[in-house]
Subunit: 243 residues, 2 copies
Amino acid sequence: MPNTHIPGSQHSPNALSLAENVIKALSIDNLVFGLDDDDLKILLVKQTDPLHQGKWALPGGWIRYDENLRDAAYRLLEELTGVRDLYLEQLKTFGRVDRFPSERVVTIAYYALVSADKFSLVAGQSAADVSWQSVNKLPELVYDHAEIIEHGLKVLRHQVCHQPIGFNLLPEKFTLLQLQALYEAILNTTLDKPNFRRKIMKMNLLSPCNEKQQGVPHRAASLYRFDAEAYKHLSESGFAFEI
Amino acid sequence: MPNTHIPGSQHSPNALSLAENVIKALSIDNLVFGLDDDDLKILLVKQTDPLHQGKWALPGGWIRYDENLRDAAYRLLEELTGVRDLYLEQLKTFGRVDRFPSERVVTIAYYALVSADKFSLVAGQSAADVSWQSVNKLPELVYDHAEIIEHGLKVLRHQVCHQPIGFNLLPEKFTLLQLQALYEAILNTTLDKPNFRRKIMKMNLLSPCNEKQQGVPHRAASLYRFDAEAYKHLSESGFAFEI
DNA sequence: TTATCTTGTTGTCAGATGGACAATAAGCTA
DNA sequence: TAGCTTATTGTCCATCTGACAACAAGATAA
């Protein structure tokens, strides 16, 4: 099992003074989002120590002294899930004086988006105490992790409307309805199919795969992929993504 | 003179081990924005030590062990400028391994908006080596401060279009043209006066002061103030601010 | 073979919005 | 009182948005 290094879970309260080669008082917590059908989920770790029996936590760990912040978040993700190449962005730094017991620990939260291709890999790869949980039905969480997730959801809901990042949650090739379902799941709303389709297509961000869905019991939809090059060009000439 | 506590400026390279009662390796840097007529400015501190002769830095300092992050940013701002009640938000945490010489220092950047009422107070209150600099003509900066400011500007330009925060840069009572000039200065663009006016007024976020500008050599414009209550109500019912 | 079901895709239309710009109003200065 | 500057209102048209109808394409079942 990879060393998940959750502050306060795998360590006793005075673990800080034992940890070697890390920046003391500074940790990483990762918000890993994935889409399970039409349900937005987040990756959580079950706590095993008696103090937090039954509670869950964000996966995280310590930042090494000679390691960039982003690299640390990335390393911790890979150690936990075995998955690389995720969309990863810094969320916010949380440092309330009493957020962590007995020691002052400031944590830098990152959020990651896992593509549908890798969704089932992520939790399977690692220990049984790591699992996807619906963001609409979160279990009890340790420390300020509920607050961090709440903020993360707020930012995700905003970002997804203003940056083309939602594609990172889909498989490489997807249908327009899958894309629509993604927005409906994240924003917790419903959208008009024809209008959504037009809006997306007008942006010229999708390139057709010239393929159709397979094995569906109805007319198969066309598959598209996100065209990162096109987005780069468009945004350089003042285009603003907007849902 | 207030103790500005710039990491690496007022301290020798091994200052970290001398500093008492702070979280080691963790600092705050503040991006303080203000509007000088139609020019967006940022508050910088001139470096005095021989190593950084002539360079400038963001005002910052150390976080105390028993102090919340936001409180630290606030305290440092007040110590430097004597001004309170600024709009203050966390920007991002910067921690590249080699961003700071000889010691690993991670810094949490905050950005503040200073109202036009207080603009001239801010730099005047403190030492001569603190001054407003146009964001379009920045001097040479120490460490990664140029990168931090660049990111801050990007975030400010985005936020100002999606949240009603621009008002924090104006005096309490302002004209519609002042508001327009603010957006033009920050976004570095020009806007159509009648259309801008309509767009703003339709939002119902401004309440009229029933007063007019004084001492202008032309027809005086009506004064308005931002109605925070109205915004609260509107945003609760799904309203999204958008310029 | 044909009806029927489900989803994909295109069309239509009224109302809202946004950008360009004309027109008028109000106050100061010469 | 004319002329200047800015404030404020009005108009027009292209585009966008949301609601919903209509048609197309497969798959399944009678």
